[in-house]
Structures are given as C-alpha cells and as structure tokens.
Amino acid sequence: MRASDVFGLPVVTINGGDDVAEIKDVVFDGTNHRLVGFTLNKRGWFRGKLRRQLPAAAVVAIGPDAVMVADDSDLEDPEVPLAQAETHVVTGNRVISADGSNLGSVSGVVITTGDAPEAVGYEVDGDDGNAYFVPISAQLALSDDNLLIPESSTDFIRNDLVGFGAALADHRRALDAAAETGASESTGGTDT
C-alpha cells in the first residue's frame, strides 16, 4: 500500500486492545530506500504530536483499519528524534529511466503491510499523466535531484498497485537469478 494510506490510522496494542497513538507520518531513509518507522500523534480530542515513535521493526501488521503492535512498550522514546525532513528527501525528485528519458517525479513510497513493513517501491507521477510504480532495488541511484532507474528494473514498472505486487516478486526472482548466474560464472572460471 502507499505509505500515505497509513496516515491517521490508530496504533492498537494486541495485548491490551488500547489505541495508544495514531500514525502521523512515515520516516523514510531515502539514501538506503528504507522504511525506518512512523512518527505519531496522540489519540482523542486533544490531538498533538507524540514524542514517541514507532520503529518499523516493531509493527506486527498494517491493516485497513489499524496498525497493530504487540505492546505499548514497542513505541520508542528516541534519544535522537529521527529527522522529519528525511521523509521528504525523495519526493519531488526527477525519475530518469535507463535510456535517459524523463519519466516523471517521485510522489510517494509504497510499503508492505505485514510483519516489520518495508519500503518496496516508489510511486511516480508520470509526465504523461499516468502514475507509475517503480520497484526499489539496490541498483537504484539516488541524488538530491534525481532517481535513476537501472535497466534491470525497467521491465517491472507498473501502472497499478495490484499488478505491482506481482511485478515485485518477479523482480526479486530476476535479481536472484542474475546473482546466481554471476556466481556460477565465477566458479566456472576457477575450474579452468
């Protein structure tokens, strides 16, 4: 799902059945394409920023109606609050394809919803008016201005989130296969 779909969801403890916070924003490490966690708001009438944060690793599940954590103690009171600015480093960046054409600009982050959610893709606001979903891989090159999509990922760009899920699995398999081929070639080299 889009990371932005999580905003405003209650954070509920499985062991207590209490709503201990609600999701304010995602904390995303743009350099490593990694979901770090979530900043939180208080619940109830007197909403306001909560100092405590929710690390991605502590999330048990992200559902349509709530973000589930085991216990209230899973919310961390960070020594060094994660910079809010980090969440926006990527959005707005130009997205450039391997053949050097402009695809559009980054509009959001796609995350998985299960145990310890991860960032798996970028949502791109296409210059042609369409939305695109680009799988995250180690080969993505990112600067302050641009996101460069490697050729290996080009085939796995999709227009819809549903198709993107299947494309992600294919993308991982393709990367694994490439890694294996590389390994067997080097083994072949030592044999001769």
Binding site: L9, V12, I14, G17, D65
Partner: protein, 146 residues
C-alpha cells in the same frame, strides 16, 4: 451453564446469607485478556459504583445472582474496573479488530460459563469468535486472531 451478557444484565442480585435484595447486575467486568469475568457491578440505591468480585458470587443463576454477603460489595479499586464502570472498556458494542489490523464489526453479545466465569465466545457482526482467538479487550477494541 452457559449464558449471555445481554441476558445476565438486569438479573437481581441477592445476599445469600440474609436473602436481602441488593440490586441488579449493571455491568460485567472482564480481564485484560478478555477471557475471564473478574467481577460484576451492582446497580442499587448507592450513588457510587458497587462492585462484587467474581469470587464472592456464589451462584450465577438463571433468574438471580447470589452473592456471599452484602459486605462483599466494595467500590472499584483497580483501574480496569474503574474503566469498565465509566464505560471505557465494555464488551457489548466494542469493535472487533484482528491482529492483522482489520475490523470485523462490533460485539453484539458474549457467551460465558456461569460456573467458572470464563468467556466462551463473542458474537460479532461477522459471526462467532471462540474464546481461544481472543487476545485482549481494551479501550479501543477486542483484539482477536484472524
């Protein structure tokens, strides 16, 4: 015997030693795990909330709830009991939320064992939830295994 929360509420509460009417069942307090009744609130003439621990309930009968003695009645002491009396924690009407974060509607009724005080199952908008699937009952929801 197995009975339901909705039918249990309103039953007369009687002191088994003196046979005096004490009041009627107002609310039923369940532990944080959502599996066991810890006490009942008695609606009577007193202004403050009157609680009876489950251990002081001699017999949870079809028509009448017998308690060991009027002296067993006390004001809420635990935070959880206070939350229940205030209405913050309440099975009937509570959201049902799976551990995956999906809502399954609301709790319409609860089946429990009148001998042991154990919850047997929840009746929700989307069907029956057996007690072994219940993870907790809190201020926001009853959390259940999916």
């Amino acid at each position: 015997m197995i009975t339901t929360f909705t039918s249990a509420i309103g039953r007369n509460v009687v002191d088994s030693a003196t046979a005096d009417d004490v009041g009627s069942v107002k609310t039923i307090v369940v532990d944080q795990e959502g599996r066991r009744i810890t006490g009942i609130q008695v609606a009577g003439r007193k202004r403050h909330a009157q609680m009876v621990d489950w251990g002081d309930v001699d017999s949870f009968g079809e028509d009448v709830v017998l308690i060991s003695s009027k002296r067993a009645i006390h004001e809420p002491v635990e935070e959880r009991t206070a939350d229940t009396v205030k209405g913050d924690v309440h099975y009937i009407g509570s959201r049902v939320l799976t551990v995956d974060g999906a809502e399954l509607g609301r709790v319409k009724d609860v089946h429990f064992d009148t001998d042991t005080g154990e919850v047997i199952a929840l009746m929700s908008d989307s069907g029956r939830v057996e007690a072994d699937r219940i993870r907790s009952l809190g201020t926001y929801a009853a959390v259940v295994e999916s």
